[in-house]
Amino acid sequence: MSNLIKDNSIVADDWVRIVPPSLGEEAVRKQAGKVVLFKLTGEETFTAEQISATQIPATGKVLVPFTVWRANKDALASRVSQGEVGLLIATHEAIEDVMAEIKDINAFALVAVYVERFADGRIFSIGNLLRTRYGFKNELRAIGDVLRDQLFFLKRSGFNSFLIRADRNAQEALQSLKDFSEPYQGAVDNTQPAWRRVNR
């Protein structure tokens, strides 16, 4: 059963996520003895070696990490125009740097934002910016540590699809899209705050 929610229902996921190979041991970063759980904004996601070693299937819909797409921009151009390429952005990638490399974000049928940890709220600002600043109109998907308790906020931040973490039930998660019926503030899904929507 699919764990993908799109526009309020569960649908099959026909995108294949491309993951660059891990080459050798990845060092565990620590600070004061504690494992560092979050990458800093602007930090590199993959090394040049990883990017060049990444295999992209020749057919089908592929969800490609931003840096991998950048390295294969020309080779992927025709598939982008056929709607076969999705762009995957990680929450620690600076969105203005990503967007500086992209001529037309709406050329991509799908943009997915990957959140490594539930508590990483950068995903909300990134979704908001993609919709409001950069005018992205197609499917905007949250993937990674996506659990039902983020969904209401993700929806309000402009996301319309959600790949629920594999060990969780997407059917139950659907409920959370309706957690609140009249939120106070204007956001991406409804720009009007409560006092402009209804006569209070």
Binding site: F38, R133, F153, Y184, Q185
Partner: protein, 558 residues
């Protein structure tokens, strides 16, 4: 005060349902500890040493008598019959059961209360001056804007999971009483040259591990833009604040790292996009909310009351209480009253259910059914007639709520500390109690005069020790509890962070250390000087010398 409409009520009701479901999923094992933690924290539920602690929101400190009666009933039914008012003007219960919390929230919702965002990495309860609306030096009553901001920040989707907690204070007085400079964002409302309401915006202040006073990021912001400007600030923070190290995750660290000029540049660039969006506040919306904060139906009274004057003249205990526990009011014939939650030898800020009922009844009888919590952890009856003060005093006194020590050394600000809090390095309540008992002589206490003594059990600084005239910080040295002392901290327009006087002390030494600090002050003060003034004039050295000489320790021996 603000009364919920259907939308407000629906949001808290839906929150109860949502949190009930989250709790059920946790209890059923569907949510791990790690996954449940941010959810319960955003609802003010901590797991403490003995039991969970539930922090109930008291938005900008305003309470109705009905709400306080409900809190009394909840504390009795679900806890041990008492609660603790915190420095964020909230109420904390120390012993609720995790599985009872949804039921507690349901009860709170019946009196327009909740625990939303009282903890966790989100926008916390917005605080303000406890004398808002009645203070003679007030330029703008900040409560309507505080309520507009409360609504905007409640479940704000973009700022639901920030790098770290985010605290906002608003103030509209000449003399700041909301410590706007010690907040992530501080908003100081004033009238500009055109007579229009404007905001001076401070950013990047905060106590905690790295105490820093805020910097002005915007000298003149039109009030309509309060929300969008905050959105710009918090968006820059959300995207660029550090998440890799919890100790470096507050906005103050980002502001310091970028420098205020670069930070401001980024905020202004972001604001260009956000300015005038639909979250821009309209006159109509502000007016709708402000209606709830209109002046009380005061009687027209003379500035003097003969029975009141006679009672002061004939009753020194009453006179002492009037001197310390009442405050000037903008309406002739009225005073604001502070109900002291600092009786000597009791945990500062604690109040029993019975006492809550007494205070709520006093509010009903003498102060239009409303009251406030202060960040100094006391309760306020804001609108009491001069002719009623004697009755209020007698009733408060018989309930142990009239210690005439407001603003004095024993009006200690104190966090729950190691007795309850699992973050604490050391106990704080027993230190407060021991110091209160050391200075139990009221004449001596009044002679010492205005003095703010603040105690935190760890560097998270819930007890605001950095801005205490005397600050005490619990520290852990090789597994035992020690106390570091600072002097010269201050809240207000001329806020400052205190200076550490030297090596730390054991718990037993602390009353003596404070005694020694006071001795230096008594000896050195001029007729007009408060403790803080003397410290600022003569510096830390004489205090340090006397404390450590007496202690048999070498001050230079750090």
């Amino acid at each position: 005060m603000y009364k919920y409409d259907a939308i407000d009520q629906q949001i808290v009701n839906e929150r109860v349902a949502q949190y009930r479901d989250q709790t059920n999923r946790y209890l059923a094992g569907e949510l791990s500890e790690d996954e449940f933690r941010p959810l319960r924290l955003q609802n003010g539920l901590y797991i403490q040493r003995h039991a969970p602690m539930l922090r109930i929101a008291v938005p900008y400190g305003m309470l109705s008598s009905k709400q306080l009666h409900k809190l009394a009933a909840i504390a009795k039914r679900y806890d041990k019959g008492y609660g603790h008012f915190s420095t964020r003007q909230n109420l904390q219960l120390n012993w609720p059961k995790l599985e009872d919390v949804p039921e507690i929230l349901a009860e709170l919702a019946t009196v327009e209360m909740h625990a939303i965002q009282t903890s966790g990495n989100c926008i916390r309860n917005i605080t303000t001056d406890q004398f808002a609306g009645v203070a003679p030096d007030e330029v703008i009553d900040p409560r309507a804007m505080a309520e507009v901001m409360r609504q905007w920040s409640t479940f704000h989707p973009e700022f639901a999971l920030l790098p770290r907690k985010f605290k906002i204070a608003v103030s509209g007085t000449k003399q700041d009483r909301a410590i706007v400079q010690a907040h992530d964002i501080g908003m100081e409302f004033y009238k500009d040259e055109q007579g229009k309401t404007a905001i001076r915006v401070w950013v990047g202040g905060g106590l905690g591990r790295t105490p820093i006073l805020g910097t002005i990021i915007c000298e003149h912001l039109e009030w309509q833009h309060a929300l969008t400007y905050c959105e710009a600030i918090i968006r820059v923070y959300n995207l660029h604040g550090r998440r890799d190290n919890a100790y470096k995750a507050r906005i103050k660290i980002l502001v310091k790292a970028l420098g205020i000029d670069e930070f401001k540049k980024q905020v202004e660039a972001e604001w260009l996009h956000l300015k005038d969006n639909p979250n821009t506040i309209t006159e109509a919306e502000l007016a709708r909310v402000a209606k709830h904060f209109e002046a009380m139906p005061y009687e027209n009274l003379p500035a003097q009351d003969a029975s009141f004057d006679a009672a002061i003249a004939s009753n020194p205990a009453f006179a002492a209480w009037i001197k310390r526990c009442t405050h000037p009011h903008r309406q002739a014939g009225y005073r604001a009253v502070t109900i002291s939650l600092k009786p000597h030898g009791h945990p500062p800020g604690d109040i029993t259910s019975e006492q809550m009922d007494v205070v709520a009844d006093l509010a009903d009888a003498y102060s239009f059914g409303e009251l406030r919590a202060s960040h100094e952890q006391n309760l306020i009856l804001a609108d009491v007639k001069l002719s009623d003060l004697f009755a209020v005093w007698e009733k408060a006194r018989s309930a142990g709520l009239a210690t005439p020590n407001i603003g004095l050394l024993t009006d200690i600000i104190c966090c729950p500390g190691g007795d309850f809090c699992s973050l604490a390095n050391a106990k704080s309540i027993p230190i407060a109690e021991a110091i209160q008992m050391q200075f139990d002589n009221l004449d001596y206490l009044h002679d010492i005069g205005d003095l703010e003594l603040n105690i935190s059990g760890c560097m998270n600084a819930c007890g605001h020790h950095h801005i205490g005239h005397i600050g005490i910080l619990g520290v852990d040295k090789d597994g035992s509890e020690w106390y570091q002392v600072t002097i010269g901290g201050k809240q207000g327009n001329d806020a400052s962070i205190g200076t550490v006087i030297g090596p730390s002390f054991s718990a037993e030494e602390m009353p003596g250390v404070v005694q020694r600090l006071i001795e230096v002050y008594i000896q050195q003060r001029t007729a007009e000087e408060r403790f803080i003034d003397t410290v600022r004039r003569i510096g830390v050295a004489p205090f340090k010398g006397h404390v450590y000489a007496a202690n048999g320790k070498e001050a230079s021996h750090v």
